[in-house]
């Protein structure tokens, strides 16, 4: 029996620490495991007993890339438990700050982390020698997202202005005006970025994913909606546990999430896009078509194009919100703590981020569960790896290793959130 093992000890250009083991027997892939060995971080445990008011600042520390996702899912869940609803301009500002997070997160990934895979460079720095203008544009786009975070959140990383009920402070209309000018310049650069990445050479590879995302009656989703899929799922976020379950697997410190009835599913830009294409403005749909995308994209390597289109959308949406903005009278709605259970689910850059909180009558946290997007995508990442590797097994190990790493970076995984780098091992027998 011919066996072969390919190991990648630390995957570069992903957030966090992980490894990949690929086992091959008699020319067939027998297992592909994304091993996440970053230690558990115990956020759910040390939130217990804290006041609901402390939650946004604590959960923001789960991730330096997507703190808004954790803050937003948390405040929606807390408000849900207290029977409160935040709307009007405060709701619009929540969408605006989420736009900032998508822009900076997607901008970093598309240009500095993912594009080098398609152009044959080891990293974004090496790529900058030949594609300096695009790298500069990417940095400018990322900066525009950071500035939204700065203006609304108080600072770019781990923002401090979000609270249950709204914000600690909201900006004046005059404060948003200079931001709008920067966003307009970034939008033009982002359109160019989408057209640039659309020219990349993409492997001919598709997967029949079950896409899962939020769907809102009118909007491309950020903060609200029902959980839907392309295979009939259509549930309130409170019913998540009826359809999904988290499972411990021996090779990962992050729990794997699966659909109880059908197994692996995909969250993130490709799922959002496929399930909400009709919610995109006509100008963004046209840009997507010009960039070679149909209403559904099943090629995970083309996720870089979907992300680039989402950057343009987020910039357009941010500009719309700023144009319509009138400063609310109060920066937050008044909340009345009560005992209960609440649910929150929002669209992090990498996909749905689901939270539930059980609260005491005084607003103290009794129990918490947080399901991050990367842990939900682990089974799909492994399925992609097995299929991708099977299609290139006749290639040298270095080629297989690179293609597998690229497959993982298709997901822009945030391993720290899910429990950090990838180690790839290919075992052939």
């Amino acid at each position: 029996m011919a066996t072969k093992s390919i190991l990648v000890d630390y995957l570069a250009r992903v957030e966090g620490e992980g490894a990949l083991d690929l086992h091959v027997e008699d020319g067939k892939v027998t297992s592909a495991q994304l091993r996440i060995f970053e230690p558990p971080r115990f956020f759910e445990a040390f939130l217990r007993g804290r006041s609901y008011a402390e939650v946004p600042d604590i959960v923001a520390r789960i991730c330096g890339i997507c703190p808004i996702a954790y803050q937003m899912s948390a405040v929606h869940a807390i408000e849900n438990a207290f029977g409160a609803k935040v709307d009007g301009q405060l709701r619009a500002l929540r969408r605006l700050i989420y736009c900032g997070e998508w822009i900076e997160s997607h901008g970093l990934h598309v240009v500095m982390l993912h594009a080098p895979d398609f152009l044959g460079f080891p990293d974004g720095i090496a790529m900058a020698r030949d594609h300096g203008a695009m790298v500069k544009n990417g940095l400018a786009i990322k900066k525009a997202g950071n500035e939204i975070m700065q203006v609304l959140g108080g600072r770019e990383i781990h923002p401090v202005s979000v609270k249950a009920g709204g914000f600690h402070r909201v900006p004046t209309k005059a404060e948003l005006a200079p931001l709008a000018e920067k966003l307009k310049r970034a939008r033009d650069l982002a359109v160019g970025l989408a057209r640039w990445v659309a020219t990349f050479p993409f492997p001919d590879f598709e997967q029949d994913y079950e896409f899962v995302a939020l769907r809102h009656p009118e909007e491309y989703p950020f903060n609200e909606g029902r959980l839907v899929s392309n295979r009939g799922l259509d549930i309130d976020i409170a019913d998540y546990d009826n359809e999904f379950e988290e499972r411990h697997v021996a090779h990962s410190t992050a729990l794997h999430s699966v659909l109880k009835k059908r197994g692996a599913y995909l969250v993130g830009p490709m799922a959002r896009y496929a399930l909400n294409f009709d919610r995109l403005p006509a100008s963004i749909q046209a840009l997507a078509r010009d960039s070679g995308l149909g209403p559904v994209c099943r090629n995970p390597f083309r996720s870089i194009v979907v992300r680039a289109v989402e950057i343009v959308y987020a910039l357009e949406e941010a500009l719309r919100i700023i144009a319509d903005y009138e400063r609310p009278g109060e920066p937050s709605a008044k909340l009345e703590p009560r005992a209960g259970v609440g649910f929150g689910c929002t669209e992090a850059p990498r996909g749905i981020c689901w939270h539930t909180y059980e609260l005491e009558a005084d607003g103290a946290i009794k129990t918490v569960r947080i399901v991050p997007p990367t842990s939900q995508n682990q089974p799909s990442i492994e399925a992609d790896l097995a299929s991708v590797a099977a299609s290139v097994l006749d290639q040298p190990d270095d080629f297989i290793r690179h293609r597998c790493e690229q497959s993982i970076r298709n997901y822009d995984p945030c391993i720290s959130c899910s429990t950090h780098f990838l180690k790839l091992s290919i075992h052939r027998s």
């Binding site: 957030e15 966090g16 620490e17 330096g64 890339i65 970093l108 500095m112 974004g124 720095i125 900058a128 020698r129 300096g132 790298v135 500069k136 940095l139 990322k142 900066k143 950071n146 770019e156 990383i157 781990h158 720290s416 950090h420 780098f421």
Partner: protein, 171 residues
């Protein structure tokens, strides 16, 4: 930024690191000791997160002085002064960032893109303990005062230099 990058400022002092992570807070400690001591045409900022943002921070400055904590090499509080015109950042002093690019990568990228200041000087202070919530180690706290004095003198020298200032980084 504790002092804005005024249009006439020529030297930027960037104090880097997370003050909530033990000796990683030495940059912030140096910044505290420099407050009010820098001459006109010099700016001081503190930054704890994304080093890519530094490329924007130093736009328009002739020189950059960075202060940051360095990985332990057996002598907590030992100060390394690095002139990047003459040498590269030694890898053993750098921290890899899992979230984004570190200082060394940001400087290299800026050089490639033509966005780096003419002069870059880095002060790196060897740390001992980087635990969450830990105070500065006594040796590192002591070094912070010394580094503040040296950075203040360095800034004056750079502003007096006919060649213009360099980038100074402190780890």
């Amino acid at each position: 930024m504790t002092a804005g990058g005024a249009a006439r400022s020529r030297v930027l002092v960037a104090a880097l690191g997370n003050p909530d992570r033990g000796d990683d807070g030495v940059g912030a400690a140096v910044a505290e000791r420099l407050a009010g001591r820098l001459p006109a045409h010099a700016a001081l900022l503190t930054r704890r997160g994304d080093m890519l943002a530094l490329i924007d921070d130093w736009a328009g400055f002739d020189a950059l002085v960075c202060v940051d904590a360095a990985a332990p090499l057996g002598a907590p509080g030992r100060i390394h002064r690095l002139d990047l015109a003459a040498e590269k950042l030694p890898p053993e002093l750098s921290f890899a960032s899992s979230h984004a690019l570190g200082l060394a990568e940001a400087i290299e990228l800026a050089h490639i893109l033509g966005l780096a200041p003419k002069t870059i000087i880095v002060y790196a202070i060897e740390g001992a303990c980087f635990d969450g919530g830990a105070p500065l180690s006594p040796e590192v706290a002591s070094a912070a005062s010394d580094v503040a004095d040296r950075v203040a003198a360095e800034v004056r020298r750079l502003l007096a230099s006919d060649d213009g200032p360099a980038i100074i980084a402190a780890y």
